[in-house]
Subunit: 330 residues, 2 copies
């Protein structure tokens, strides 16, 4: 890993708050002690911001770190269509996708040491061949990673969570939860905690699926038939894992002190406690792919794009997390 | 309502921490400025505690308030079987049920002004004809309330939540959620917020069922087919209600300031944020029945019964909430 290499930040959808977040991050680089990064996207998406920073289009990354001192370095992705803040324009979708591809390739080639992705609007991308539920599937595809080996982690200073099932209707969760899926997720997670987070003996706490952890089968069987067998199998491989715990008791202050990551059964079970505890500094992290990738834990926020209102807490946290992970991984 | 009437506290299962909580509450009555209450249960369950307070068995409630100054007043429910802290004994189940019946009847007769119930172990009660999923169903039965009119609210200083569906497996939630059930729940809730909580124009925020509020149908249809129609119908009756909001955004600090109660679609969706924010001071409140009933928001905690370790925060909060609600309702 090239410690001097910059972090790549993709613009995300130029109609959303992605470019604004990158701009604000650069403007506050000294306050937040941020490492050098490069913006991969359309310069036009910066120019239409009410307060955009001095930027310099660069053709390669050789001078990026030096440029970063006085200018936001930009690797240009061109678009031929106008950008209107707050209004999606599908004519720009190819540029959105191209920025991600370029960011991934530079990170795979170690010209960048980590990737931070700006928020995208999936619905706007399907017309240009994007066929994934979100960034994660696309990143798996671009890095030739089997999709079932990718794991989404959400992290804040208070809590780290990993949902075993992710983007599906609540009614479909139980039928998608399998012992095998839990085992794969836990193994990817443990590896990342050791290699990317510097935790020698990571401890995982597993949530139940059903209220009161199923209350001995009275309110659901999955604890007995799926979750506990996975925990037992993982324990046999010397993984430090306990549960299933009632989900409503797992995130209390004393419980949070007993584990490194909560392995949750579905999206909202993981995201509710994370955002309840800290709604501004959450970071989304993709584990299991051969690059380090983080992102702010929010969407394009079209309703406030261009109003200079976007809070940069999550973007700052995403950059710092990418920085820290790449140092641990060095 | 008789403002001078005491609050009734039922012992719950005598093998659990219920009697200890009542004892500790009485011992700290001055510190916490608690109103007079009477313990309804077995005196033996007090006597086996390591630190039990002076108590006096009373035959009626006439002198209860005066007695409370120097003794824990006790309305005796006798049992013929030994009580072992931490070990359930089904021979005492009739006494557990009898204490609840007596508490309800005294509160219905306004000899007590509110009911606080100690934690029970349902599995231990089924043999004596108890046929309910918990206290709530039993209280509905004892007060001749249609079960679908009872509503469970959980309250802490930070947050009030009401789950529309309650004790069922997660996979069954979607099929049990109906527009009618949401409307009934919201109406019971609004009435209680006005009459028992003194809120003139209560504001309800409704959570979505699916992640990202279903993302326009891509991850579940219930927002469109069930939840939004209920909200629209309720708005037409001048109820101040908004949603559905993504569940992971509903409990952030700024969002919590915008509503009085979050109407949630299932148990853990409501309980996770409540306990994450404050795991010691949650109160369980039954709305829709003709008496005021609260309880500590935890179980019998058999593993710590008799060890003098039980935290009284939730019991103190339950007594104070019952006190406040009965004053608002006066």
């Amino acid at each position: 890993m090239n410690g001097a290499a910059p972090i790549a930040i993709t613009m995300g959808d130029p109609a959303g708050i992605g470019p604004e977040l990158t701009s604000k991050a650069w403007l506050s680089r000294k306050n937040h002690d941020l490492p050098p990064f490069v913006y991969i996207g359309c310069p036009e998406a910066l120019k239409i911001l009410p307060n955009y920073p001095p930027f310099k289009i660069i053709s390669n990354l050789d001078d990026c770190v030096k440029t970063f001192e006085n200018f936001l370095p930009v690797l240009e992705i061109s678009t031929t269509s106008p950008i209107t803040l707050g209004t999606l324009n599908k004519a720009n979708s190819l540029a959105v996708v191209e920025a991600i591809k370029r960011g991934v390739n530079l990170t795979l080639a170690k010209e960048c040491r980590a990737l931070v992705t700006g928020p995208i609007q999936k619905s706007s991308l399907y017309d240009v061949g994007f066929k994934f539920a979100g960034h994660t599937g696309f990143l798996a595809d671009l890095t030739a990673t089997p999709p079932d080996q990718t794991v989404m982690m959400l992290a804040s200073p208070e809590l780290k969570v990993v949902p075993v099932t992710v983007h599906m209707a609540l009614k479909d969760v139980a039928s998608h939860l399998t012992t095998r899926k839990m085992e794969i997720t836990a193994k990817v997670l443990i590896k990342a905690l050791k290699e990317k987070f510097g935790i020698n003996d990571p401890k995982i706490a597993v949530s139940a699926l059903n209220p009161h952890a199923g209350e001995g089968g009275a309110m659901g069987q999955e604890e007995t038939s799926i979750i506990s067998p996975a925990i037992e199998a993982l324990k046999k491989t010397n993984i430090n894992i306990e549960g299933p715990y009632s989900a409503d008791s797992l995130f209390t202050t004393p419980m949070r002190k007993t584990y490194d990551v909560a392995l949750c059964m579905y999206h909202d079970q993981a995201l509710i406690p994370l955002k309840t505890l800290d709604f501004q500094n959450g970071v989304n992290i993709t584990l299991g792919i051969p690059i380090i990738r983080t992102s702010p834990d929010h969407g394009t926020a079209l309703n406030i794009a261009g109003l200079d209102m976007a809070n940069i807490g999550s973007m700052i946290a995403a950059i710092k997390m990418a920085d820290q992970m790449s140092q641990n991984d060095a």
